[in-house]
């Protein structure tokens, strides 16, 4: 019933593998890996489904509501589908797949979900402000040595450490 849980890769192994995947993506497409771009397109699409006139009139989401920017027409959406597939393959083959509500270990289910939604809101807003997330800006910006990637990572780690200290009681 319970398959053997296989250990994670050594960070150096995982880092080299991630670097090679990132390099392959650059050579294949001309840009790096991303994630938040998909959620921007998803938000625009949902906005268009729920309140089309308001979404079209919105200065930020409006331009995403054309056929060319439909979620299914963009590379990053298929990349995210791939991330799900690759994640399932790794989790299942490593004996690490299990349905659960993970998160802040010192909270119950509803508290964990509230923190997940709250953290998601901060991240969704922040990724738009930064023009990318940990993957699209932090990783894919820093690899070609863009100043923007490193500025992002400094903000990410400094604020992450400070907020991590404030919430340490629920997370550790």
């Amino acid at each position: 019933m319970n398959p053997t849980i296989r250990p994670f890769w050594h960070p150096l192994t995982a880092g080299i593998a991630l670097g090679l995947v990132l390099l392959l993506t650059f050579l294949l497409t001309g840009h790096g890996l991303g994630a938040s771009g998909f959620f921007t397109r998803l938000t625009a699409w949902l906005g268009g489904e729920i309140a089309r006139p308001a979404a079209e009139a919105n200065a930020y989401l409006g331009p995403f509501l054309t056929a060319a920017t439909h979620p299914l027409a963009s590379w990053i959406s298929w990349e995210i589908v791939g991330v799900l597939i690759g994640g399932v393959i790794a989790a299942v083959s490593g004996g690490r797949f299990r349905l659960r509500v993970d998160g802040a270990p010192n909270l119950g289910g509803s508290g964990r979900i509230a923190l997940a939604v709250g953290g998601g809101i901060l991240t969704g807003f922040g990724a738009r402000l930064a023009r990318g997330c940990t993957s699209g800006m932090g990783l894919s910006g820093s690899a070609p040595l863009a100043v923007a990637g490193f500025v992002f990572l400094i903000g990410f780690f400094v604020v992450g450490i400070a907020v991590g200290y404030l919430v340490r009681r629920v997370w550790a």
């Binding site: 995982a14 390099l23 001309g30 919105n58 993970d102 939604v117 040595l145 903000g155 991590g164 200290y165």
Partner: protein, 218 residues
């Protein structure tokens, strides 16, 4: 054949994504406990994996340019908008500290069966909508302090790329050494057993308690 191929089709997206997701999950980055432990310095995997990946990909990219396989302006290099880039990065860091993920890792979180990853995604949609709602009032901040188009560290410091990469590698090696020492002093990085074992969620504890009660009463 000239690089990059500029292949942005479905197969290319799926290929990059599958490899990306496979590596992220194997690194342990589907676990919000492992990811947030970086901010408490008890697990340095996020720093180690990201820094290594940046250097490996950076060496590959600048080698491809240096060997004439790819033009220097062939790949996308983001432009800094100092305040927006910095505070946006900060908010993404805060989001991970609170919610346990970033956009890519919430996706592998869900892929490993973590339903909180799905709620994090729902939060991101709300946050993106919120950003769109206040976009016009904050547009000046969004565009403030724009840096030179596609500026890189070699341009900023006036150094060759290989020198910058070498300095980053030295910094990474120092970070690996310091991080590993701190990790050991604080009990070691979280293992797959620890974040996936039976004690990893309250639901399992509950199941265990029911088992104990059953044994006692039965």
């Amino acid at each position: 054949m000239s690089l990059p191929l500029y292949d942005t089709g479905i197969a290319s997206g799926l290929l990059s994504g599958i490899l990306f997701g496979y590596v992220l999950e194997n690194a342990g980055f589907a676990s919000p406990r492992k990811l947030t432990a970086q901010f408490r310095f008890t697990d340095w995997s996020v720093f180690k994996v990201m820094f290594t990946a940046v250097i490996v990909a950076g060496i590959g990219l600048y080698a491809a340019i240096g060997l004439g396989l790819m033009p220097a302006n062939g790949i996308y290099i983001p432009t800094t908008f100092f305040w927006a880039t910095l505070t946006g990065g900060g908010l993404v860091g805060a989001g991970m500290a609170v919610g346990g993920y970033c956009p890519g890792t919430s996706t592998v979180g869900l892929a490993s069966g973590r339903l909180d990853g799905l709620f994090f995604m729902a939060g991101m949609v709300l946050g993106t909508g919120l950003f769109a709602a206040v976009f016009e009032p904050i547009e000046r901040f969004y565009l403030a302090a724009q840096g030179p188009q596609g500026q890189t560290l070699p341009m900023l410091f006036g150094l060759p790329a290989w020198v910058v990469l070498l300095l980053l590698a030295i910094l990474a090696a120092a970070g690996f050494a310091v991080g590993s020492r701190i990790e050991r002093a604080l009990g070691g990085p979280l293992t797959a057993e620890q974040v996936n074992g039976r004690d990893a969620s309250r639901k399992d504890e509950l199941v265990e308690e029911i088992e104990i009660v059953r044994v006692q009463t039965g």
